[in-house]
Symmetry: C2
């Protein structure tokens, strides 16, 4: 598994990104590792505000920042050329650069030399481990809970982190298993599934959650969505390699189309449950849904409770907003 | 799309491989491009015989061979160290090396320098094109026929090549679209799907079969199997990106377990048809099965016809052994 060691505190780089969906790396670090985030740097007046102090690179250096973390995650995972001067300046100030793009910092001309000259490091979180195996399908010891989504960016990572926290609070053995760049930055280790060569995708998921104690839960961050025209194969490989005993469906209330693929309607939660079981029984006949985590932030406050109650009744499953309610109602079903 | 230019004639390198399934690259070239194959080189007495003249490297060089083609495809796609001396000697004789492994010839120590010194080339067929897009799901013009398998190595490539031949003979516009190393060597172009980074898998399949005339068929080589514990995500990405109008199920008569994953039973042809439609409607509501291609070589000759007739009646679809019967019965349904 890939282990990353980032030097804190961080300056989160937002660029000109105004959409929260595409700044999820920065937002995730602020949510889950606030004590490590010193400030934010934005290149446009309407860029997303993560609630951190705005800083120039010089101000950040004076404030003791040790890493500039690229906080955005664009479709395709590029590092735009207009950012290069910022990246060079940060290295010149001795800061590490941390990125989770498909394009590697090490492949941006000149950065490696600048880093070496300034005692700084280039940390490409999205580089998968070497020598991954092909998936074997062999049953592993211990238990696994996988987050599956109705779409990308609906709260799969937050839900998994909440479940890990609540399981541990309940005295259970649990580990969050990160599968994307943000999760890996938060956890300090994991496998960037979407950067794995496709022949080794389910094998990578097997490596991610190895044999463990019989009563230990791996809480696995999901990726993509099984009904997604771009990413369904990533979701499939993660599902097959994870061989989950149980899964949680993650959803954003009010979302009706696949975000960024507006010709595609969002699948229903029932469809996602049925499809996940249908595919997952190949590697674990016991697979079943244990709850739904909903990001209700788009709903007016008075509707929130009604929405979750109605959904819970319809599905006969605990349905929670993990950031508001916690996930104990779901965790209770797994004890 | 990746275009490869191989210099013929070829010496097919079998190493010590005795199983036909794992020598499919060599066998495929002998079947579909016999005029380009001058000889075979085997390192063990019980290694597979492709029916070519056995040659040493020196004999091959004297016979005018211009490329040593690695004819095996192992699980995981490695190039074993015990082959390195052979590869070095071939380069020393001025031959190109051609391989379709995940491990790249260019990454074997010393080969690049030897090639340069001898005017020879290292051709890694399994390196995908650069800058692939994420799949868009947008509908493309023209028609697409995808081969799907009950398992790996059941005849998907041969079936596609037969269908291309029979479509063209029937006056239809058709192109074989290669998705694996052997198919790419045969066709001279294609995309090695299983070597694509998983985020771009369906995007790669979209690139493979671009917009075309309304009455043109892309006949797309399949990969893996939707019920395969190692490779189902590759099959899923290819299916979603291909957005096929029609598909053919490929099967080997008598096979009952996933080859190499003996704990997993082979899915039924009916299961494969149902699952393919279930997943494929996401990108093409018209998707339907138009026939079954069966490799009947494991059956005694008298049983062959009965097997195919019984299957055809059960499924109400044309069922053929493409190498014996041709695929006209299937092609007829697409005219």
């Amino acid at each position: 598994m890939k282990v990353v060691e980032m030097r804190s505190p961080y300056l989160i780089f937002i660029g000109s990104e105004s959409r929260k969906t595409y700044a999820k790396t920065g937002a995730g670090l602020v949510q889950w590792r606030p004590e490590l985030c010193r400030g934010q740097m934005r290149l446009a007046a309407d860029a997303l505000d993560l609630g951190l102090a705005d800083m120039t690179l010089e101000e950040a250096a004076s404030a003791g920042v040790r890493s500039l973390v690229i906080g955005t995650a664009t479709v395709g995972g590029d590092i735009p050329e207009q950012w290069y001067p910022v990246l060079r300046q940060a290295l010149g100030l001795g800061m590490d650069l941390v990125a989770g793009a498909h394009k590697r910092l090490a492949d941006v001309p000149g950065l490696a030399e600048l880093a070496a000259a300034n005692g700084a490091r280039l940390i490409d979180v999205r580089v998968p481990p070497a020598a991954l195996p092909v998936g074997s399908g062999a049953k592993r010891r211990g238990k696994r809970l996988l987050m599956v989504g109705t779409d990308c960016a609906v709260g799969k990572k937050y839900s998994a982190l909440c479940v890990e926290r609540d399981m541990r609070a309940a005295g259970m053995k649990a580990d969050f298993r990160a599968t994307g760049q943000t999760g890996i930055m938060i956890a300090g280790c994991g496998v960037p599934m979407d950067a794995v060569v496709s022949d080794f995708l389910s094998g990578a998921a097997e490596i991610l959650s190895p044999d463990n104690d019989a009563d230990h839960w791996d809480v696995i961050e999901g990726q993509g969505g099984l009904f997604h025209p771009g990413y369904s194969s990533v979701s499939t490989g993660l599902l097959i390699g994870s061989q989950p005993d149980a899964f949680v469906v993650c959803h954003e209330a009010g979302r009706e189309r696949i975000s960024g693929w507006e010709d595609f309607p969002l699948p229903s939660i029932e469809d996602v449950i049925a499809r996940t079981i249908e595919l997952g029984v190949l590697v674990n006949p016991a697979i079943h849904c244990v709850g739904v985590c909903v990001n209700t932030s788009a709903l007016p406050a008075p509707e929130r409770e009604h929405y979750l109650a109605e959904l819970g009744q319809r599905l006969n499953l605990p349905c929670v907003d993990p950031l508001i309610d916690g996930t104990l109602a779901i965790v209770d079903r797994l004890r």
